[in-house]
Symmetry: C4
Subunit: 225 residues, 4 copies
Amino acid sequence: MTVVSDVRETIAALRREVCALHEQLTRYQLVVWTAGNVSARVPGHDLLVIKPSGVDYDALTAESMVVCDLHGRVVEGEHAPSSDTEAQAYVYRHLAGVGGVVHTHSPYSVAWAARGEPIPCVTTMCADEFGGEIPIGPFAVIGDDSIGRGIVDTLRHSRSPAVLMRNHGVFTVGPTAKAAVKAAVMCEDVARSVHLARQLGEPVPIEQHHVDALYDRYQNVYGQR
Amino acid sequence: MTVVSDVRETIAALRREVCALHEQLTRYQLVVWTAGNVSARVPGHDLLVIKPSGVDYDALTAESMVVCDLHGRVVEGEHAPSSDTEAQAYVYRHLAGVGGVVHTHSPYSVAWAARGEPIPCVTTMCADEFGGEIPIGPFAVIGDDSIGRGIVDTLRHSRSPAVLMRNHGVFTVGPTAKAAVKAAVMCEDVARSVHLARQLGEPVPIEQHHVDALYDRYQNVYGQR
Amino acid sequence: MTVVSDVRETIAALRREVCALHEQLTRYQLVVWTAGNVSARVPGHDLLVIKPSGVDYDALTAESMVVCDLHGRVVEGEHAPSSDTEAQAYVYRHLAGVGGVVHTHSPYSVAWAARGEPIPCVTTMCADEFGGEIPIGPFAVIGDDSIGRGIVDTLRHSRSPAVLMRNHGVFTVGPTAKAAVKAAVMCEDVARSVHLARQLGEPVPIEQHHVDALYDRYQNVYGQR
Amino acid sequence: MTVVSDVRETIAALRREVCALHEQLTRYQLVVWTAGNVSARVPGHDLLVIKPSGVDYDALTAESMVVCDLHGRVVEGEHAPSSDTEAQAYVYRHLAGVGGVVHTHSPYSVAWAARGEPIPCVTTMCADEFGGEIPIGPFAVIGDDSIGRGIVDTLRHSRSPAVLMRNHGVFTVGPTAKAAVKAAVMCEDVARSVHLARQLGEPVPIEQHHVDALYDRYQNVYGQR
């Protein structure tokens, strides 16, 4: 099987973008060694671009990214794809609006995940980006559809672009790979701030109508139009 | 409306300074992604210079800074200004001595803010820079004068150049933008040290007359004259 | 005693590799000042290559690495070898499959070690890399075989490539020096995540059959073949 | 008063060394903004070389260092010296073996200092470098001999090269400025590890005869001879 020629340029651009976005994972210390990855959907095609498995972040190149179909089978690339490819492919198959997926084991998020505890929405940043609590997905073993199904089932009942998979780590989604990376960065920041707040007492809740107003403004007004 | 020509140079210099000061926010890890900003008053004019909204710190240039009037309306610049512009404009309108304002969601400060708890003055650094506890401002929604009013009302009753806005983050002020950045750096450092101290017991209080003496010396003797 | 000529190239390559791997210790903040080191076995020879004692990481060169026999005696090199050389030589003498050893005082790992408490296996990363809890070795004084014996006796009863020596720090092993460095990075990451999880409650256990399945997959399927 | 010509070269070398050592304070995140400094005694002369007050670390040059007599009066230099100069001068006057002094507000050390609690010796690194607990000095106000006297009185009864001044920060000493910087780096590392250990239980004590043996070996055998 080969990739048809009219998507060559799109894929080449996504290879560069996905490769470069991994720099944000190391910059914000969301990952150690090779434990974390970014993928992007190839728009209009049943394809995704993802990090190769077990390759050092410093050694990543656009060429080493792997193109897979939405069942995780390699279509183009000389490396084995991330061991999370099947889970991410499942997400792309079942959530049409998702253009990017990120997976990390960032430490404060993992702490909440290890306890199986959602992160309560007690900061304006959490309301802005996640629209409420950051939810917990099930414990799921690697090697079949369990992780992908756990992500999709959890995110379908939430405004949050992040899910904490129990005892595991974070998966985030977005309309683009960059948006998913942003959600991963924000998730760890919120996980840390709320962890710190809880260590010395109870955070003050934010009323639901304020959460809704903050979420609405941030999604629709913030940034450049 | 255009900017009159005799302030051109001042504004050009402030654009460069405000742009460069954002490097301190990332260096000291006070901000993630695009969540934090610096502004400066244009001395003698009802104008301020501020970061554009939602633009990556690595992509900031002096040219991308936005000039607004003191009601937050854009006067010069091709980008939408920070979504905190109205709050900061309110501060400049009501506190004549303020030449710079900084906003961050730095994690230890947010932890105190999420509990609605002021940071007690138990270190000499806190006495030096803040002259007492770092106070808590009200919960305030974005989109009207609430945040600006909360900042001003809180700082008017305090020697502190920093206020922790409840469930939100930090706003700091100073005679210059650099002084406000310094207060933001110091605020997070104090928030962290006192957090750590409190985790394993109770810090020893500092007597008020010592706080006063430390504050007086630091404000009047420290540094180069 | 001199090194026979047919291992010259192997030793030269290991000097470069061992030297370069110290960059990972500083990058992941596993060490301060000169407190931590990497060594590698010279395959097929009773020799090892190790960091010189008390030399700054920035000043390390391939030439400054020290070649010792497996009793810790210097065979080649102008510097005194790491004060941990005897302990690491003991490990190479008694664990035939070990090709690299790393020692650090990384802070979260030291915290568990200071309490003499193994790190429970409550995250998938811990199951993947360590195959169960990260065990505690005995308190052992430097200057004889105590540390080496403590490491070997502990690791023989565990799948873990890392041992927390009580009140001291971490020793990790691997088939190569790079694998041992990876284990050191992962050990601190797990030590931190589980520390954070435990601060606010109890992590959910992972059932033993899931730990076994995760370990098996990670050791046999993950990465490039 | 002028500096006699035969110490010109010594002073020039110390200016470069003291300036460069500040990079270690920022590298290990022991300081924020301008809050911390290094000084060195000019051997054989009643002089010291110290950081200028309130100057950014990035802007430090050998030329901007300030030469003072051992009462803190400026002998050479265009800047005001660190506001800690009098305290450090007191240390040089009263502890003949001290060739370098460092002051920081490093966060974990400040946490112990804010509670007025010495750091117990429960790690081999603490035994190696500090020979026992890291002691607490008195609360002392700036502006007279109180801080210097507090440092000297505390260190005279301890093998530790570091003292935690109550509610304030760390002062370390050493035979050279580099040794004092090393002690400052190690002090924060120990403060952090023991803080983390204590958060989840009680560290196992190290018996005094082991502390003594570790200290003796580290002071006399470690490193290059």
